[in-house]
Amino acid sequence: MGTYVPNSTVEQKQMLEALGLQALEDLFDAIPDEVRVKGELRIPAGKSELEVRRQMEEMAERNTVFRTIFRGAGAYRHYIPALVKAVSSKETFVTAYTPYQPEISQGVLQSIFEYQTMICELTGMDASNASVYDGAVACAEAVAMCVDKKRATVYLSAAVHPDYLDVVKTYCYASNRELVVVPEKDGRTDIDFLRTALNSQSACFLTQQPNFFGLLEDTDEMSNVVKAAGAKFILCVNPVYAAIGKTPRECGADIAVGEGQPLGLKLGFGGPYLGFMACVQDMARKLPGRIVGQTLDTKGDRCFVLTLQAREQHIRREKASSSICSNQALCAMTAASYMSTMGPSGFREVAKQCLSKAHYAAKQISSVPGFSLQFSGEFFHEFVTACPSSAETILKKLEEKGILGGYLLEGKYEGCILWCCTELNTKSEIDRLTALLKGEA
C-alpha cells in the first residue's frame, strides 16, 4: 500500500493517548455501527509507485497519439513552448489554493491580474474575470449575466459548437429560461430570422466567431440587429482568431467569451480547459466568479486582492447569480504565460499561419475529385468539405497512416468533414494528406 501519512505508529499511539483513546477506530464513535463499511472496500489493494505507474502507462498506451492532426471542432493542437510547460508545473502554483490571503498570495493574484489584462487586450473589453470551467460554461454564464425580469428570452445561434449549445440548453432548462435557437443557413446564422424573432423581452443573442463550421459570421449586422432590439450581444470567439480578426469589442459585443484551450493547454482528452469571460465596463459587476483587483497596502504600495466578492456565492449565497467557486486558475496562468511567451508578433504569426495553412489545405483538398467546399465565404482555420464516398472509411484510412483527419459531422451535414489546420501542420503534411485522399499514397 502506498501512503502519504507521515506519522509512525509510535506517534499515532502518542496522539491517541493524548486524546484518551486506544485505537484509531475509537475516533469514529459518532458513526452508527449499522452503516459502517464492514470489512474492506471492494477495490484493489494499494500498490507501490512503480506498479501504479506501470498500470497507468499500460492504459495510456492503449490510446493512439497521432503525430498529424487535422481535427479541431473545439479542441486545437497548437505548439506549446517549453517555457509555458515549465511555468505551469511550478510546484507552488500547482499546490496553492485560491488566494484568500493576499499577503502571501501576491504571486498567484498578480498572475491572474496579468491574465485578466491579456484577456481584455485580446477581446478589446474593459473587464475580465479570473476564468470559468470552459468555453461552453462561459457561454452559459454570459447568458445568465443578461437575463432579468423584463428580458428573459435567450437567443442562440445553431452554428455554435454543438456542446456549447447543449450546455446553454441545460442551464436554461435548469433556470426555467426560454431559449430560442436561431437556425443556420448555408453554415451561417440566419440573421433575417434573428431580426424577426427579437423583441422587447429578448435578453441576449449569442453566436460564435468563427462559428462551429469555421466560417466567419457577419457580426456587424448581428450587432445592429441585436442593439436595435435593446438586447445584449455575446460573442464566443476563438482566442487565436482574435489576434488578427476583429475583436468582440470592435464587433459591438457586450460580452466576449471563449475557450482558452488554444492558449497553451494540452488536448488532454477534453480537459481541463479554460473558459474566459470579458465584458464592457457597465457589466463588470455582473461577471461571475473570482475577479482580481489592484489596490494599495498599508505601506501605500501596489498590491492585488480578490475583489467585488459580494457578488459571489460565499457572501450572496442563494442570491448569487452563479455558484462557481473553484475555477481554472492554473490554466489561466498557463494561458497568460503562453500569451507572454508568444508576444504580440508571435501570437499574430500563429494566427496568420493557421489562416494560411487552412486556406492552402482547403485549396488542395477541394482539388481532389469529389471533395468540394460545402460552404462559400470566408473562414479562419477550419472548413467543411463534402466527400466522394463514405467519410468514415476515408478517415479510417487516414488513421491507418497515422493521420487524425477532420471531424465527421452529424445531423444536417452528415457525411461532411470539418477540417482544421494550425501552425503545427506543415506543407508536406498537407500535401501528404492530399495525396492520400487522391488515393496516390
Binding site: R285, L308, Q309, A310, I315, R316, K319
Partner: protein, 127 residues
C-alpha cells in the same frame, strides 16, 4: 448619531421621510450602515419601478457582506439618488442625509416606528 425625530423607521432598518401625503424619500439607518461597515456598491433599481411595503428593491454591498434594502412604503420610484449611486460611501458618513430613492403615489405604509421606538428597537437587537 441622533436619530432624526421627523423620520419614520422600519424594522429592517430603513428610514422614510414623508414630503407630503403621497411622496417620501427613504434610505438606510445609522444602525444599518454600521452593521455593513464600508459600503462599496448599491445595486440600484430604476425610476418607474414599483416598490412594495417590506419588500427589497435594491441591495447594498460592503467588502464582505450584502444586504437587501426594503421599501417602508408601497408606491412608484420617482427618482434615485445618483450621488449615492456614484459614491455609496456617503451613506457611511451621513446615513440620514443620504436618501436612496424618492417614492411617489404611495398607496400603503409598513408598520413604522418613531425615532424613540426605533432607538429602543436597536438596543434590543444589539443584545
Amino acid at each position: 448619531m441622533t436619530t432624526p425625530k421627523n423620520y419614520s423607521y422600519a424594522k429592517t432598518h430603513e428610514w422614510v421621510q414623508f414630503l407630503d401625503e403621497e411622496t417620501a424619500i427613504s434610505g438606510i439607518t445609522d444602525f444599518a450602515q454600521k452593521a455593513l461597515s464600508d459600503i462599496v456598491f448599491i445595486n440600484m433599481p430604476s425610476e418607474g419601478d414599483e416598490v412594495t411595503c417590506g419588500e427589497p428593491y435594491a441591495d447594498i454591498e460592503s467588502v464582505k457582506a450584502v444586504a437587501d434594502i426594503c421599501s417602508p412604503v408601497s408606491g412608484t420610484i420617482l427618482e434615485i439618488n445618483e450621488k449615492v449611486e456614484e459614491e455609496p460611501s456617503v451613506i457611511n458618513e451621513d446615513p440620514y442625509g443620504s436618501w436612496i430613492i424618492k417614492i411617489g403615489h404611495i398607496s400603503a405604509k409598513d408598520d413604522l416606528m418613531t425615532a424613540e421606538e426605533y432607538d429602543r428597537f436597536c438596543e434590543e437587537e444589539e443584545q
